[in-house]
């Protein structure tokens, strides 16, 4: 049995195990905990896709919230029931074709795929002009574009219902869909990152001039990374819309990008394993810190909630990470089956392998 075949089997077994755990959790845990789990899984999809462009291809984008918004609004428009559409757009009618149909529950995956396509198309449109810029300029251009998307969401009432947003979106995003997309994202992006294309993207990250001199068309590869990233960002935006059952411009504001940035920096820019783990950790931490923002009554003593406290903690965390712990938890390393197995066989194995050669799936 070759190593590759063994790893594939292990991956399949692990995925089956994850679904089993999801089923157990869904059966026994309460609604609130499951909401946190689903949010965590959606953050995995969003963060891993963001890491492809920022960590693997090394192009600093500040725009994933815009692509998530595209996916989110698209999915909302596709699955919102017709009577709800009439209710939401009672002043100005919703644009054609969305006002004449609505996708039912079995077609939810199709809606997500179309949401992903919207994100990918958005990434293509934003990427073609802006990926010629580098560093700070690219960051600002992607930020500018995503702000434009949010301004449009606030103003294009016949499509987005403006600042009020769209309410009453069916909650199709159960734990199985969230898990399926999280696994798909991790599998596709880690496969891609370890492929020849991923190597080309990493070479651009390390040295753009040398990459071009080695025959890599850099613009094409940046754009590929950007579009793939945009697709999964769109899907995650769609999942989030269905989880929260409401979309509005504020849901996809810059703070979404900020959260994702903390996740990928903490996990290690370029490490898919890192992003996956920290996406979950961030979601849980974020919930755990919720109490500081809500009012507490301890007997007669009333402590008012402090708005902004969580973000204050996270901002401080981000700055401290950059100053003291720049490589994050995983640096650019990944956990692979080869590493896990060698760890079981031999306890003195020297740390996590760097950029493993054999296909690895975390």
């Amino acid at each position: 049995m070759s190593d590759k075949f063994r790893n594939t089997l292990l991956t399949i077994a692990f995925i089956a195990f994850l679904f089993f755990v999801a089923w157990l959790a869904d059966s026994y845990l309460d609604e609130y905990v499951m909401r946190v789990v689903r949010t965590g899984l959606i953050y995995v999809t969003a963060a891993v896709s963001y890491n492809l462009i920022n960590g693997i291809a090394g192009q600093f984008s500040l725009g994933p919230n815009g692509f998530m918004a595209l996916g989110g609004y698209m999915v909302a428009l596709l699955i919102l029931p017709l009577e709800q559409k009439e209710f939401v757009w009672f002043l100005q009618p919703l644009i054609w074709p969305f006002r004449i149909f609505s996708l039912t529950k079995p077609l939810f995956p199709l809606a997500l795929a179309i949401g992903g396509a919207a994100g990918a198309l958005g990434a293509l449109i934003v990427g073609v002009p802006s990926l010629r810029l580098r560093g700070d300029y690219l960051a600002i251009a992607t930020f500018g574009f995503s702000q434009i998307i949010i301004v449009l969401a606030n103003n294009l009432i016949p499509v987005t219902n403006g600042a009020l947003g769209i309410k009453g979106i069916p909650e199709y995003a159960n734990v199985y869909w969230c898990l399926t997309w999280a696994i798909l994202t991790v599998l596709v992006i880690s496969n891609l990152a370890n492929s020849s294309y991923g190597r080309a993207m990493k070479s651009i990250r390390d040295d753009e001039v040398a990459a071009e001199a080695m025959g890599i068309p850099i613009f094409k590869h940046k754009l590929l990374a950007f579009v793939v990233s945009g697709f999964f960002a769109g899907v995650s935006g769609g999942l989030m819309a269905s989880l929260i059952t409401t979309v509005s411009p504020s849901l996809y504001s810059f703070s979404m990008t900020f959260n994702l940035l903390i996740i990928i920096v903490l996990g290690g820019l370029g490490s898919i394993t890192g992003s996956t783990i920290t996406a979950f950790a961030f979601t849980i931490l974020s919930e755990a810190l919720r109490f500081v923002e809500s009012p507490i009554n301890i007997g007669p003593v009333h402590i008012p909630g402090i708005a902004g406290m969580r973000m204050l903690v996270f901002s401080l965390l981000l700055v401290l990470l950059m100053v003291f712990y720049r490589q994050g938890l995983f640096g650019q390393k990944e956990i692979s089956w080869d590493w896990v197995l060698s760890h079981f066989k031999n306890r003195d194995y020297q740390g996590v392998k760097t950029c493993p050669q054999k296909t690895d799936r975390s």
């Binding site: 492929s195 990459a211 071009e212 080695m214």
Partner: protein, 263 residues
């Protein structure tokens, strides 16, 4: 104007300027297939600029570059490399976060036929191609004596080994013309000796045409069949190593200034 007398690489009256400052002016140069030519000159003479013009990093203000008779002026660097001109860099631009093997494999990427989808889904056609690329890269690493270090991070290697990785990487692009920018920089005399043998060896083995920039006169005089000297972006002499060593213009412009290098 077409290429001159069936040469493999020709620069025809090339001029490059930065903000009005002429870096290279009216530069004419030809390389015949299979030659090993040295490009020398004092620091800042415009040697690396000549490389950058050939490989498309800079676009000349005027003049043309021909490769195998085809006008490649203004081509993007990746296209030039795919056409068959590979290079190394003076300041060694390795992909430091990648392993030695991955560094070499990056140069094979342009040969890949599988689509990104095939790669992301690990389809058999892609896996087969990847395996072939890996075999080829390992052969090249074997040639430069770095097989054992294939899975080491490139940035962690000592200087001399990094230079060898860079040459292996350039060779992985299957070039016909190889441009080496100060390959012996930072090497000790013994390493330089081995490098000289290596350069001559790969030229014969892969049927390469080599143009190299070097300050180490022992290396240049030892292996180059022909030497071009430039100063202030202009050619001042060309000839065999013996002719160059005796050329008074060269001595005053170049050797006078860096006599210690020559000694």
């Amino acid at each position: 104007m077409s290429s001159k007398n069936g040469s493999i690489l020709a620069l025809d009256n090339v001029t490059v300027s930065f903000g009005g400052l002429l870096a290279v002016s009216d530069f004419d140069f030809t390389l015949q297939r299979g030659e090993l030519v040295g490009l020398i000159g004092p620091n800042g003479a415009g040697k690396t600029t000549v490389f950058n013009i050939i490989t498309g990093q800079y676009e000349p203000v005027s003049g043309k570059v021909f490769f195998r008779g085809q006008d490649i002026t203004g081509w993007r660097p990746d296209r030039v490399t795919c056409a068959g001109i590979a290079r190394t860099f003076q300041n060694m631009r390795l992909f430091e976060g990648l392993t030695v093997l991955d560094n070499v494999l990056v140069a094979r990427h342009s040969k890949l036929r599988s689509s990104m989808l095939a790669a992301a889904l690990n389809l058999p056609s892609y896996v087969k191609e990847e395996r072939q690329a890996e075999t080829k890269a390992m052969e090249l690493l074997d040639r430069v004596g770095l097989v054992d270090l294939a899975h080491t991070q490139a940035g962690s290697l000592p200087y001399g080994q990094q230079r060898r990785v860079e040459i292996a990487r350039a060779l992985a692009a299957d070039p016909e013309v190889l441009l080496l920018d100060e390959p012996a920089a930072g090497m000790n005399p013994e390493e330089t000796m081995r490098l000289m043998e290596f350069i001559c060896g790969v030229r014969d083995e892969f049927g390469l045409t080599i143009l190299l920039i070097e300050h180490d006169m022992k290396l240049v005089m030892g292996i180059c069949e022909r030497i071009r000297v430039i100063d202030y972006g202009m050619s001042i002499a060309e000839g065999t190593p013996e002719e160059i060593q005796g050329n008074p213009k060269v001595i005053s412009a170049y050797l006078g200034e860096e006599a210690c290098d020559y000694a």
